[in-house]
Assembly symmetry: C2
Homo-oligomer: 218 residues x 2
């Protein structure tokens, strides 16, 4: 009874559980950092445990292989990203606006969430193979837009890959020359993508200019 008193962590967990969870999280954080540095799977397990500041052997208490760690780490980060997008789009009905809002928020990650942005550029198009975060949401929204007759672009998968290329380019250029990418640049690109999807130019401008929820508060 008293032992299940909350301690600010998950209820029902022992101190041992929490210590284990911390070690596991340290490994995940280290993996995320390595992907962001662009060294991804090329790092050795030794480098990973050094970065996480844990003993080498502890790695195998949590993951069977580097692959499993990197997959887990990617899914966790992208899941956070996905929930952020869901929150921002909760009240929107029009698929075109959902899509545009998701993209405009993602394009701002360079300054709102630099670590996440660096992870995304580090992962590259592999993002599309991870069933979390942008890919499943954007694909769903593109298909909804097609069904609603707002998007005339024929192939949703190809459209998704195009959007990923656009976002990665945006984040990459921002990392290299931050002054070139501001909110206007992100919104103009969102507008351009809407045109590509088949939304008339005038309407695309309107949809991409709607006010966004306050990102800073997240």
């Amino acid at each position: 009874m008293a032992q299940t008193a909350t301690t600010g962590k998950a209820a029902g967990s022992t101190r041992l559980d929490r210590r284990k969870a911390r070690t596991r999280q340290a490994l995940i954080d280290a993996a995320v950092g390595l992907i962001a540095e662009g060294r991804g799977e090329r790092a050795s397990i030794q480098e990973i445990t050094d970065a996480a500041d844990i003993g080498f052997g502890s790695f195998y208490n949590h993951f069977e292989s580097k692959d499993e760690l990197f997959r887990t780490a990617s899914e966790e980060v992208l899941e956070r990203w996905g929930r952020m997008i869901d929150r921002a789009c909760a009240d929107l009905g029009d698929p075109a606006e959902v899509f545009a809002t998701s993209f405009r928020i993602s394009g701002r990650l360079g300054w709102t969430h630099p670590d996440l942005a660096r992870f995304i550029t580090g992962a590259g198009l592999d993002l599309l193979d991870i069933p979390r975060g942008l890919a499943p949401r954007a694909l769903r929204d593109i298909k909804l837009g097609q069904e609603a007759g707002r998007f005339t672009i024929p192939n949703a998968e190809v459209a998704l890959s195009t959007v990923a290329g656009a976002l990665l380019g945006l984040l990459r250029v921002h990392q290299q020359q931050p002054e070139q990418i501001d909110e206007t640049a992100v919104d103009q690109l969102a507008e351009a993508i809407l045109r590509m999807f088949g939304i008339p130019a005038r309407e695309a401008k309107r949809v991409a200019a709607r006010e966004l929820p306050d990102i800073a508060a997240w």
Copy 2:
């Protein structure tokens, strides 16, 4: 005198030179195949020399490291691609049409040049960091289009990354579901990208529908 008689190979080269060149080419072909399989730099030198059917030690007669081999192999393949594009666009003046033609030819690689297409999807967005092939040409054409006032899209680098995402999506879907991507699908995507770049919809349709040179002959 008689010794420089041509033998169908480069003049002035000895038989030793030609044997060396064959070995080197076998290594490059093996590297291209490994990239196409998506195993790129993860293959060991032993696997590379096995695939090339040459002795392990010969590797170091030609390249100092795997990195150097893969860089050389990528540049060689992309250079061939680039020259193919140059040939097709030689007589075109309008930057928008040069761009559209380059893209429409590249989108057809899935059936005109399947090996090259598989290499491209295997390399992914790393294509943008190799100063050969699509990237420098597309960047040049986008900038020309901007200067000519035909493209209103603001950032050429971001636009380039978007186009790369589109092409990679196209080739990837074609590999997985060939029936989904035919010439019409490629041309529709080219048209959509022109709209994204700021070309009016009607004009985009016109530019993306011009007759292409006969690709089969290449």
